[in-house]
């Protein structure tokens, strides 16, 4: 597929993006029946007449799901409809038991909100067009055939456990003027939605399990021209993919337009392997879903009192929290973004709460523990080290019993399951040599080995002291307090520090 290098594409075209995020709500039961929503059960064991669409079965809306969507809408600064209806979206597909999906059409429950995201220190306001409720479909698995799609498959099986799980669709208005930041804005937006859903406690938002899915719309136009034809890229299942998909579509569409071609309005699929997108079904002939109000459900009319009650249950929003923590820890946007992207903000906050200085907490988690976690293929927060362990080690450092190098050894042992920091220190005999006697011996030996350095220090070139301190640390295998060594050294040579 022909592409134009990203930076070059942006010299000629302006990208317009739009994002649709689907979030599977973490309610106990499905949207319209009482079946469980647990992930990973045996196929077709979490089904009933309603979610199998047996003749005669009827839906009843799940109040917990409506509550969740109203809270999402409020968190996204949306207006909450006083009265709205579900609608049927009609189309035939074997993963959809009723051959229509209960969704919302022209009466979404939440409208006209916004979400601010920060990219490279720049705040971009992403306007939200609507947030609506719908039900998930079943899951088709195609066997045989080359493409893994329904066409060409030898046979397909369908698991209806997922059918009817409540889904929330969050649709942005078109986002313009982001230029080269478009891919990063798309990513930051989805990340922000993810954090928001977590903070609200409405979904486990596991992209890898499909509980948060994103479709990315993109079009290009020359500056001053009307918007171009957009494509909708589906199957974008990680934050990194969101960024890559938008970037690739910019590169691809630019090549099409450069050649004088026209972009087809179509659904495309993101290919995780090579980061490209491939055409799906064409939308040239717009599908007619024959939407009409769902007659089996009464309208949803959330009372204003209820909405206000729900507003009171809103947690601190992720952006507000980040601003608060950044101020408290005296760090900038970039440092904060690093913590968020590494997924360690929560655990750093917990560590600070355990009494560790913010800088130290950040340093341990973004250095030592992020490395250890990636080696083990786990999330940093899942490592076998607690905030209390870190607090204890920091105490030992402050008292001079450990230095940085020893502290790292202690954590290595803690992560290896050798016990608490105190147990590790005791068992391994890891402690700073605090008796001045052996240190002075080592200093004398080092001075004797490097008389020229000794002379330099005496003559006031204090930076030369490092060589002696280094030698002493080496002799003591790191178990010395470097500060104390320096003090003793200067004392020995009769130099003011």
């Amino acid at each position: 597929m022909k592409t134009v290098p990203f930076e070059e594409a942006l010299t000629r075209y302006e990208p317009v993006i739009g994002l649709e995020v689907h979030v599977e709500l973490g309610t106990q039961s499905k949207m319209f029946c009482s079946c469980s929503t647990n992930f990973g059960a045996e196929p077709n064991t979490q089904v009933c007449p309603v979610c199998l669409a047996l003749p005669g079965a009827m839906p009843v809306a799940n109040r917990a799901a409506i509550e969740s969507i109203i809270r999402i809408g409020l968190a996204l600064n949306c207006s909450i409809a006083e009265w709205c209806r579900m609608a049927r979206k009609n189309y035939f597909y074997p993963d959809m038991p009723k051959d229509y999906q209960i969704s919302q059409y022209d009466e979404p429950i939440c409208t006209d909100g916004y979400l601010d995201v920060t990219v490279d220190g720049k705040v971009v306001r992403v306007e939200i067009e609507r947030v609506h409720m719908e039900e998930d479909t079943g899951k088709l698995t195609h066997s045989g055939g080359a493409t893994g799609r329904i066409h060409g498959a030898d046979y397909s099986v369908v698991d209806y456990n997922r059918a009817g799980i409540p889904l929330v669709e969050i649709v942005t208005k078109t986002v313009v003027g982001t230029g080269a930041l478009a891919p990063a804005v798309a990513r930051a937006y989805v990340a922000e939605i993810r954090d928001l859903m977590r903070a609200l406690g409405v979904s486990d938002v596991k992209m890898e399990e499909g509980s948060l899915r994103c479709d990315a719309n993109l079009s290009l136009n020359r500056p001053g021209d009307p918007w171009g034809t957009r494509t909708e890229t589906k199957n974008v299942n990680s934050l990194r993919s969101v960024e890559r998909a938008v970037r690739f579509e910019i590169e691809r569409q630019a090549a099409v337009l450069d050649d004088g071609g026209r972009v087809h309005q179509e659904t495309r699929h993101f290919q995780e392997g090579d980061g490209t997108t491939a055409p799906g079904r064409s939308k040239e002939q717009a599908e007619d879903y024959r939407y009409f109000p769902e007659p089996d459900l009464v309208p949803i009319a959330p009372s204003r009192e209820w909405v206000e009650e729900l507003r009171l249950t809103l947690p601190e929003l992720p952006s507000v929290r980040r601003a608060r923590l950044a101020e408290a820890w005296v760090i900038g946007e970039f440092e904060m973004a690093t913590l968020v992207n590494a997924g360690i903000l929560d655990i750093v906050e917990e560590t600070v709460a355990a009494g560790v200085a913010p800088d130290a907490a950040r340093k341990w988690w973004s250095g030592e523990f992020t490395r250890a976690a990636s080696e083990r293929g786990v999330e940093p927060a899942d490592l076998p080290v607690t905030s209390a362990d870190i607090a204890r080690v920091e105490e030992l450092i402050a008292s001079g019993a450990l230095n940085d190098k020893l502290a790292r050894q202690v954590f290595e042992a803690v992560l290896a399951g050798e016990g608490s920091p105190d147990e590790v220190v005791a068992a391994r005999g890891l402690a700073v040599v605090s008796d001045d006697g052996p240190l002075l011996e080592a200093i004398d030996a080092a001075l004797a080995e490097q008389p020229d350095v000794a002379e330099k220090i005496r003559s006031g070139k204090l930076q030369a002291a490092g060589a002696i301190v280094g030698a002493v640390m080496k002799t003591t295998r790191g178990q010395a307090d470097a500060g104390r060594v320096r003090e003793l050294l200067l004392e020995r040579l009769g130099v003011e520090g």
Binding site: P49, L52, A53, L54, P55, G56, A57, M58, P59, V60, A61, R88, N90, F92, P94, P97, K98, D99, Y100, I150, H151, S156, V158, A286, D288, R290, Y291, F292, P295, D296, L297, V298
Partner: protein, 496 residues
């Protein structure tokens, strides 16, 4: 006593008193079905074993001194559009042939809880689309009054079962008149309760916003007793009304219309109504006046658009409701020979499984909901619906009940209108407004048309949750007519 001719309330008290067992009553009806149903074809499926087992349970309960409900042990015919666990449920369609529901409709649960004996499933127009039961995929039902004539529809099987003394009670469903018009042409009683009064859970949907389950019997009191057994809120139907059910049994026992204001709907009589139908209707009006009701004429100007609106709303909803019959999960599957795509199998299944009337309505509804046509058709029909509801509201500010003939004609000949859909649709001209507005109505027999000797029905309409008014007025008219004739009209039906 006659086990097959007596009313349900009479049978129930005889069973309760131990004069006869439920098993005897049930067996008598099963014998009657065996004797006459080959000619009537009211039933699609008879569950003899289940019925007798249920009857024995009732008899055991009685023997054990347990308290029995007011219809305990009495047999009933169930329209085949309601899911019944373990029993075939086809909705009159080939596409559901062989499907055995794994669950009971809410109404079936209530019937079982009331110890009512379900004899089997009755014939109907396919997916309740029709006014003659000729559109059943399993062949037509014959009117016991004249076997060459239709028993009405879509619930012709339930009405014919009552008229042929195959069951003293029946359940119907009414989307545009499917309980009332069959009642009218068979000289039985049928009520379309207020929309939402009887839960629809387990009712195979035709048009969700119009469908309503209701009671059918041979007299008003039995109908009320059955109404009381099936009505009331059910959380599994979101549209089910969560409010106390009006005391319809007390109303049926209080046959008094003195001081009642009765509105005669100007738009639902006169031109287009058979002379004998109009004559019997006029006599019913006179009876109401004699009984002390105040009859006045009221106008419902938008009723003339009811049929047109109905034939957009109903097909629209049914085109969506019937989408699920795609051969993927249950019922018929055609063309699955390993060579065809899933779309082809779906299309072949629906092509083979649906009859012509069903296809016609699916196509009309698909068209009416299409983008670009939605506002002109479905949207406009909804506006008419609002206006019709307003007509009713204004009328009920002046009167307690409204009346009209139930159907414009008596039973027509089988085959007479089957190729003329519009003529067929006109049968429901008087019954449709009630479904569009969601209020309630009853049809009860008021005599035979002189020109053909066939039954004529009176329709009584009341506001939402005013179901008790139907029974009060209906029982009064029925009592006056029984006084006059010495028996219920159904007793004049020819022997089979």
């Amino acid at each position: 006593m006659s086990l097959i001719r007596d009313n349900a309330s009479v049978l129930a008290s005889a069973i309760a008193e131990g004069e006869v067992s439920s098993e005897e009553v049930t067996r008598a009806h099963l014998d009657r079905i065996a004797a006459v149903d080959e000619r009537v074809h009211a039933f699609l499926h008879v569950d003899s074993d289940g019925a007798i087992a249920a009857a024995k349970r009732v008899d055991a309960k009685r023997a054990a001194g347990e308290k029995l409900g007011p219809l305990a042990g009495v047999p009933l015919a169930l329209k085949d559009v309601l899911a019944m666990k373990g029993q075939p449920t086809t909705a009159g369609s080939k596409i559901l042939e062989g499907w055995i529901p794994p669950y009971d409709a809410a109404v079936v649960e209530r019937l079982r809880a009331a110890d009512i004996i379900i004899l089997g499933k009755t014939n109907m127009d396919e997916f309740a689309m029709g006014s003659s039961t000729e559109h059943s995929a399993y062949g037509p039902t014959h009117n016991p009054w004249d076997l060459d004539r239709i028993p009405g529809g879509s619930g012709g099987g339930s009405a014919a079962a009552l008229a042929a003394f195959e069951a003293p009670l029946a359940i119907g469903t009414d989307t545009g008149g499917s309980i009332r018009q069959p009642a009218a042409v068979t000289a039985t009683v049928g009520v379309k309760p207020t929309y939402g009064a009887v839960p629809r859970y387990g009712l195979i949907a035709l048009a969700s916003s119009l469908d309503q389950v209701g009671p059918c019997a041979r007299n008003v009191l039995d109908t009320a007793l059955l109404h009381a057994a099936i009505a009331g809120h059910d959380a599994r139907d979101s549209t089910s009304i969560n409010a106390p059910v009006p005391d319809v049994v007390a109303a049926a026992l209080n046959a008094d219309v003195r001081g009642m204001k009765v509105g005669l709907v100007r738009e639902l009589s006169g031109a287009g109504y058979q002379a004998g139908v109009q004559q019997r209707f006029d006599e019913a009006v006179a009876i109401l006046t004699e009984l002390g009701a105040e009859v006045i004429e009221v106008s419902c100007p938008h009723f003339e658009y009811a049929l047109a609106a109905y034939y957009l709303i109903l097909p629209s909803e049914c085109s969506s409701n019937l989408a699920r019959f795609d051969g993927m999960r249950y019922g018929l599957r055609v063309g699955d020979d390993g060579s065809r795509s899933v779309e082809e199998v779906m299309a072949l299944t629906r092509e083979a499984g649906f009859g012509p009337e069903v296809k016609r309505r699916i196509m009309i509804g698909t068209y009416a909901l299409s983008s670009g046509y939605y506002d002109a058709y479905y949207g406009q029909a909804q506006k008419v619906r609002t206006l019709i509801t307003r007509d009713f509201t204004e009328a009920f500010e002046k009167v307690d009940v409204l009346i009209s003939p139930t159907a414009p004609t008596t039973a027509f000949k089988i085959g007479e209108k089957v190729d003329d859909p519009v003529a067929m649709y006109l049968n429901d001209i008087a019954t449709i407004p009630v479904n569009l507005a969601g209020n309630c109505a009853m049809s009860l027999p008021i005599g035979l048309a002189p020109e053909d000797g066939l039954p004529v029905g009176l329709q009584i309409m009341a506001p939402p949750m005013g179901d008790d008014r139907l029974y009060r007025a209906g029982a009064a008219v029925e009592a006056a007519l029984v006084d006059r004739w010495g028996h219920l009209l159904i007793e004049e039906a020819p022997a089979l």
